[in-house]
């Protein structure tokens, strides 16, 4: 249970020594409300390994210069590291060329970039944009804003009871006026891994471009944008062991080439006069102003770290955590799990019957267990589930089986505080 002292590393069941790996994460080594921290809010943001912290520090302590500008040594070194991060991001995404990798502030900014640059130039009155019911507001609101501005219609692909998209309804929602299909790779609220490749095939047949919100996928290993067949793919460093304020937009070169710049400013131009501005080549056309240099260093370190642990081993460990969590939570008489998608990231959404998720999260916090009680910025999905909010436990490569057990034990404290309000019989 959460109050029983430091979590001992377990051996055997995990493909790597989780206990040793936990030492890489300084933030794990703390107590909250007098209890060891059990951090299960990884879908919000992951904790950062020391290598990432060091890489960010390095950007301020050593290569502390602006990129792409100076003729001095520090600027050259910073530029090399910054562009090195771009190459790592390209490899991580399986993209062909570095010019297809745009550094942004995060997934939200990436999607807004696509909506405002590609969207404004390609979506007009009478056109349609298709999103899904599983989307985070970040892949919903920018499209709603675009549709409202351009006189286009927003369509929504529903999710079924099991938390999976209703692929059977997709052909009926696609048509000659569909310009964009925006879908998450992994649902942030339920963990559903969406069949992006199948969706992209149908969308392309209808002539639409496919924008993928990869925020919840990146922490679980490399992505292959070419196998997915998507036109755009976005992720945030901070949900994949990197720093906040840094993220990546992949875009197919042919599309990025013909898109107008999004933000104007320094570094994105070749020449400026009153009569004419000439823009730089890709990807710099989309990177106005001084970028988040430290963030890029941190992102590179995070991708290196994830690669070092090994995506296959991470996936095996996380699958074991998910399995144990679903088993432990289902065994509790007053806990109901939402959705059981077949392909799933290590995310469990649940409710403690008769107790509001916000109250559950407050009690769990006092037990040292950090998770999210809320609508997870996915209100269309919450409406489908018939709730205002859920409790969400989301796991990462450093979580242990003991922490899963601590979660289950802490739910016992919720039951104690509120009494058992189960209707499960």
């Amino acid at each position: 249970m959460a109050g029983s002292g430091a979590t001992p590393p377990e051996t055997g069941a995990s493909p790597y020594d989780v206990g040793a790996l936990r030492a890489d994460f300084p933030a794990l080594d703390q107590r909250v409300h007098g209890r060891p921290l059990v951090y299960l809010d990884n879908a919000s943001t992951t904790l950062k390994p020391r290598a990432v912290v060091e890489a960010v520090r390095r950007a301020f302590e050593r290569e502390c210069a602006n990129v792409h500008r100076g003729s001095h040594a520090l600027s050259a070194a910073a530029t090399e590291l910054y562009e090195g991060a771009r190459a790592k991001a390209r490899d991580f995404l399986g993209a062909e060329r570095e010019r297809e990798i745009v550094f942004v502030r995060g997934t939200t900014e990436a999607i807004n970039l696509v909506a405002q640059s590609y969207g404004r130039s390609s979506v007009g009155p009478g056109d349609e944009v298709l999103v899904t019911e599983l989307e985070h507001h970040s892949n919903f609101v920018p499209w709603k804003m675009l549709c409202d501005e351009r006189g286009a219609a927003l369509r929504v692909l529903p999710a079924g009871e099991g938390g999976e998209l209703r692929l059977d309804l997709l052909p009926g929602l696609l048509g000659p006026t569909t310009r964009v299909v925006a879908v998450s790779h992994v649902s942030n609220a339920l963990g559903t891994v969406n069949p992006v490749a199948a969706i992209a095939r149908l969308a392309h047949e209808a002539g639409a471009v496919v924008v993928v919100d990869g925020a919840q996928a990146a922490a679980h290993g490399p992505v292959d944008v070419r196998a997915l067949g998507c036109d755009f793919y976005a992720f945030s460093a901070h949900k994949a062991y990197g720093p906040t304020g840094a993220g990546v937009l992949y875009g197919r070169e042919a599309l990025l080439e013909r898109m107008p710049p999004w933000q104007g400013g320094g570094d994105m131009v070749l020449s400026v006069s009153e009569a004419k501005v000439r823009y730089r080549e890709l990807p710099y056309k989309f990177e106005a102003g001084t970028p988040n240099v430290a963030g890029a260093f941190g992102l590179a370190a995070a991708l290196d770290y994830l690669g070092g642990v090994g995506p296959a081993r991470v996936a095996a460990h996380e699958a074991a955590l998910l399995e144990r969590a679903t088993r432990a939570l289902s065994a509790l008489p007053n806990v109901r799990l939402f959705a059981a998608p077949a392909r799933r990231a290590p995310v469990v959404s649940f409710e403690v019957e008769g107790v509001h998720p916000h109250d559950v999260a407050t009690v769990l916090d006092r037990e040292g267990v950090a998770l999210r009680g809320g609508h997870h910025c996915a209100q269309p999905l919450m409406r489908r589930l018939g709730v205002a909010a859920t409790c969400r436990a989301s796991f990462a490569l450093y979580n242990t089986f003991d922490e899963v057990d601590a979660l289950a034990a802490a739910i016992g404290v919720v039951t104690e505080a509120f009494g058992c309000r189960s209707t499960k019989g």
Partner: protein
């Protein structure tokens, strides 16, 4: 295992009882004042309706969904409003909010039940949700802490 003292105080018997069996929950026929308020953190929404044709609250009811704190607070609020003039109702909201910030004692014995919220700053917005709706319904008063 023993319950944390802070939690015991936050989820005390009165709050749990009003969460489970809230008073004055449901629609109100012939309401003269009405407003809804939501908590963007969790998607909760509460609607407060008053019947105050002569300037004093004859009936106050609430509807919506929320956590234990927002429901209990709405329930206790509707009880405390009975018979109050609208200016008095706003003064009560001020006094309640002041008590949550530790600036004043609770305005009534029932509302004293929320003293424990002071130790949970992220939950103050839950305790004040119905009261913000009340301000909206009456259409007066300054901004409430909307955390």
């Amino acid at each position: 295992m023993p319950l944390d003292e802070g939690l015991k105080s936050l989820y005390n018997a009165l709050i749990l009882e009003h969460d489970r069996r809230p008073r004055n929950e449901g629609p109100l026929e012939g309401a003269t004042h009405e407003a809804s308020e939501d908590n963007p953190l969790c998607g909760d929404e509460i609607t407060v309706r008053l019947s105050a044709p002569a300037g004093a609250v004859d009936a106050a009811r609430f509807e919506g969904r929320g956590c234990a704190l927002s429901r209990a607070s709405a329930s206790l609020m509707t009880e405390a409003l009975a018979g109050k003039g609208l200016a008095e109702a706003l003064a009560l909201a001020d006094a309640f909010e002041a008590s949550l910030e530790g600036r004043a004692p609770a305005p009534s014995a029932g509302l004293e039940a929320f003293a424990g919220v002071r130790d949970f700053p992220s939950r103050v917005g839950c305790a004040t949700l119905a009261w913000r709706a009340l301000r909206g319904a009456i259409g007066g008063g300054g901004p409430a802490p909307g955390r």
